[in-house]
Amino acid sequence: MTTTVGRYIGQSVKRREDPRLLTGHGRYVDDVQDAGTLHVAFVRSNVARGRITELDVSEARALPGVEAVYTADDLNPMIQQYWASMMGPRIEMGGESVYPPVSVLAPGDVRYVGDPIALVIATSRYIAEDAADLVVVDVEPQRPVLGLREPITNTDLVHPETDSNVSQTMPLPEIPEIEALFANAPHVVTRTFAGARATNVPMEPRGLTVHYDRYRNEMLIRAATQSVHEIKAFAARLTGVPESNVRAVADDVGGGFGQKMMVMREEAAVIMAAFKLGSSPVKWIEDRRENLMASNQARSEEGDLTFAVDAEGHIMAVKCNFFEEVGAYPPSAGATAMLAIGVFTGPYKIPIIIPGCTAVYTNTVGKSAYRGPWALETIFREQMMDHVAREIGMDPIEFRRINIIQPDDLPFKTATEMTLENITPSETLEQVVEMLDVDSFRAEQARAKAEGRLLGLGIGGYVEPSAIAFGVLNSDPAVMTMDVSGKVQVRLGTGSHGHSIETTIAQVVATHLGCDIDDVAVIQGDTATSPMGPGTGGSRTAVIAGGAAQTASIEMREKLVRIAAQLLEASPDDLEVNGGVVSVKGTPQAAIPFAQLAMTAHMAPDMLPEGMGPGLEVIARYRPPTEFTWSNATHGCVVEVDRETGMVDIKRYIVSEDCGQMINPMVVEGQIAGGVAQGIGGVLFEDMAYDSDGNPLATTFLDYLLPSAPEMPDFEYGHVESMSNTLGGYKGMGEGGAIASPPAVANAINDALAQIGVPALTRFPFGPSQIIDAINAG
């Protein structure tokens, strides 16, 4: 029996999703209009911290068209359990993880601007918003808790239920031998870096329709979610409706980037409200202002880094102390620095790491996953690599070369006890150096400088801990069935919110099953038809769901081959599968199409091989051999900085990526491009700033600046394909684009500015105003 691997895998097959999505025929939550649907609008706090002194909903309740107005007293006491599968139960429920206090509506006090105080249900969103305006709320403002470090000691508390604003901490240890190492090191460089608060901004904001039918005790949820299984489990815990009676469906989902991985308070409130109402479908479509003001945010992080370096430029030891704010109500723990510490050493041989981290609650929107939740490690480390190189008088590329993990170092055990294997950081670095043609760039840079123009070059490298596989994330299922007609359906626990899964998994199945891609249907996003899986996120789907689909395909093919062998009176070893036909090698006329085999399995079980049961169903589940599947990349960026205006023009952007076996290079490059765009945004444009009263300053797209097409350079791609140890040789790469691009852009800007003696910027965003401030100061 020979296989046909490579027929679809590795090809840039066009996305099957595109015809409907690009012509506006997707089916998103708001596109489904069930009869009798009611609409939700939230009354939200416009004060960051304060006590609610008056809350009167009587006028709102009286408005014609209003079905109900709920406040904390109506919904909070009904909550049964409130925890996310990824983090496990709360302490009081026998678990260990750290969560903020439970409430779906503000419990007597407000804790951030946007905090939902009341929930209005009406016959239309217009009326719901009119009624929301009629709710009388009076808040006695208190001084908000803000910042990353100040809240550690602040005795004003975000959550009065706790005794400190610190949500998680691991103090930086002081170890005498290490202090001595730093004291005697030839070079010691210390810097503090800061990210700019950002938010995910999916094109489709959050939204859900919840229909609880009290007579059947059944709940149907349609949601813009990354994980139907998570919202199903969450709703069951929240309300006490048996999980078997809850069904969650996500058709097309317009992006998530982590924002739709965890269930957030508004979604929980809508589930509770629909449960309490017990009759009509209740729909909440988050509008853009709500999404910017009250959906989870990230990247409000700082890092104090100290590197000790020997005389030749080898990194001897690093200290890193991270600070992050998790806002008031992160949907899970929020904090990500622990994971960042785990992978901080990245692609380098750093023998010693002394880590610390502290996360604090603040009176701002909760922190949650945003594409590369641990990205601070690379964003800060890769900037630090340039700062150190500059300070010790070494070229940043040379400094990286000296420290980077080489092929013969593998498998490499990091200072944080992670085992890196099947990665190619030095190969991707050299590929970028070659594509950039660094020597001629440096010559061009000098010529430009002579004309008064500032060009700069920056590099960013990382190792991505893709396909995290522990806890609920351990594995993914694939259930495959073949119809009488010989077509297959593969049901996955994943969800597609821009990932091309319908295309790429079909490529995997068609390749390993040996059929035409058009004969493969990929079904996901409905708990009634898809087996339990943790959803799509964490760069896992190709690796883990791909492995499951491959396993199922091979098992199905083996079954078909056995049936064919019986019918052809041949040995299975003499058969091959191609284009949906099983044939005898070398005798193509002795062949049976899948349809005939399927008909036999479904309709003529007596003709099946001895011991084989009727039907064609395969249940497979794949758990990768290691908890992380490592991928890696190097980014290179060339910018021109207008020294008079501080405007940055990205001239070239190069990514060399190793994600193992590529299923679909076009999709890989699309993932890279999207991630890089977000990373560029994080440096140059996006800043979800709060003022000193805790007011968010960027609640519309007028102020929250997403990068748009004209700001994007043409991306250039290089690929290194080294196989992982997973089934298909795949490595996840969905987040890396967003992780390595911020430092590449930042380093390029600082490289440009260094030519005129401007000290390097360290705090994002690097907007024109900040760049001119730096030039003026330098």
């Binding site: 305006d133 102020d703 990068p707 004209p710 024109p768 001119i772 003026n776």
Partner: protein, 287 residues
């Protein structure tokens, strides 16, 4: 983001429109392209009981040249003006400013009059009107009146128009053949409102500058005309130290901070955009 309830009126004549504004007083608002008004209503930053839509009113759109002026009807779409040959040849500063307004989709709906009546301090067209000494034509209950651009812009989103007045057209004087114009602005992204920008024009007679216009936007509550710098430029001629002229234009400014840039940045950059625009304008006038 749903507006609160309002009554919608679509009058066919200016008289009817003015009548509706009078009848509903401060409850009423004029709707032109809707590119600024509709978002404000959807965000409930503004609520009006009555919208008076000008889009069905006869004779409010159109571009014509007469008596050394180009007259642009208030309802003329920004995109129409942008691609109009009369505007391109006779009011080049306008033609150069228009592509900086948002994106083409916005200019397809947004109107010339709407942009000027809205009077956003970071808008290009108010600065063009001010720099070029445009005349604004308005219709109200008492008939028509003409307002000099210098008297029109009173503050952020505030103009000399009364609540029951409609801007009907804007008239630009046509400059001589030896003129040059340039628009320079710094915006965070393509299509964004400018952090700061300059519109400049010069008319030459040999090396002498016989007419100069320097307008700035994004630097205060209204567009700013730099009369002193214009005079210095006229006194110094085409060989003037343009950096020095630009500094004179920027010196009196006192812009404020916002999330996109500090006031100090705006002031510093004002001198840059004026110098760059003047350099280009003089170059164009010479060619």
């Amino acid at each position: 983001m749903k507006p609160s309830k309002f009554h919608y009126h679509a009058p066919a004549t200016i008289g009817d429109a003015v009548g509706l504004l009078g009848a509903h007083a401060d409850e009423a608002k004029v709707l032109a392209g809707g590119q600024s008004l509709v978002p404000m209503m959807s965000l409930r930053l503004a609520t009006f009981g009555h919208l008076v839509d000008l889009n069905k009113v006869d004779g409010l759109a159109g571009i014509e040249r007469s008596n050394g002026h180009v007259r642009i009807g208030a309802l003329t779409r920004q995109a129409t003006a942008e691609h109009d040959t009369t505007v391109a040849s006779d009011v080049p500063m306008m033609a150069k400013a228009l592509p900086h307004i948002g994106h083409f989709q916005i200019r397809n709906r947004g109107t010339v009059g709407g942009s000027i009546a809205h009077a956003d301090p970071a808008s290009e067209l108010p600065a063009v009107a001010l720099a070029l000494d445009a005349t604004l034509e308005a219709a109200g209950p008492g008939g028509e009146r003409q307002i000099a651009a210098a008297d029109f812009f009173e503050g952020t989103w505030q103009t000399a128009l009364a609540e029951d007045e409609i801007l009907t057209a804007v008239r630009f004087p046509v400059w001589g053949a030896a003129s040059g114009f340039a628009v320079e602005e710094v915006a965070r992204r393509h299509g964004d409102f400018a952090i700061c920008g300059a519109v400049c024009g010069v008319e030459l007679d040999g090396d002498a500058i016989v007419r100069a216009a320097i307008g700035l936007f994004g630097v205060g509550p209204t567009p700013v005309r730099s009369t002193l710098a214009e005079q210095a430029l006229i006194a110094g001629g085409a060989g003037s130290d343009l950096a020095d002229i630009a500094r004179q234009a920027a010196d009196p400014l006192d812009p404020s901070d916002d999330i996109h840039a500090s006031g100090a940045y705006r002031k510093q950059i004002a001198a840059v955009v004026v110098r760059r625009a003047l350099t280009k304008a003089i170059e164009e006038a010479r060619s």
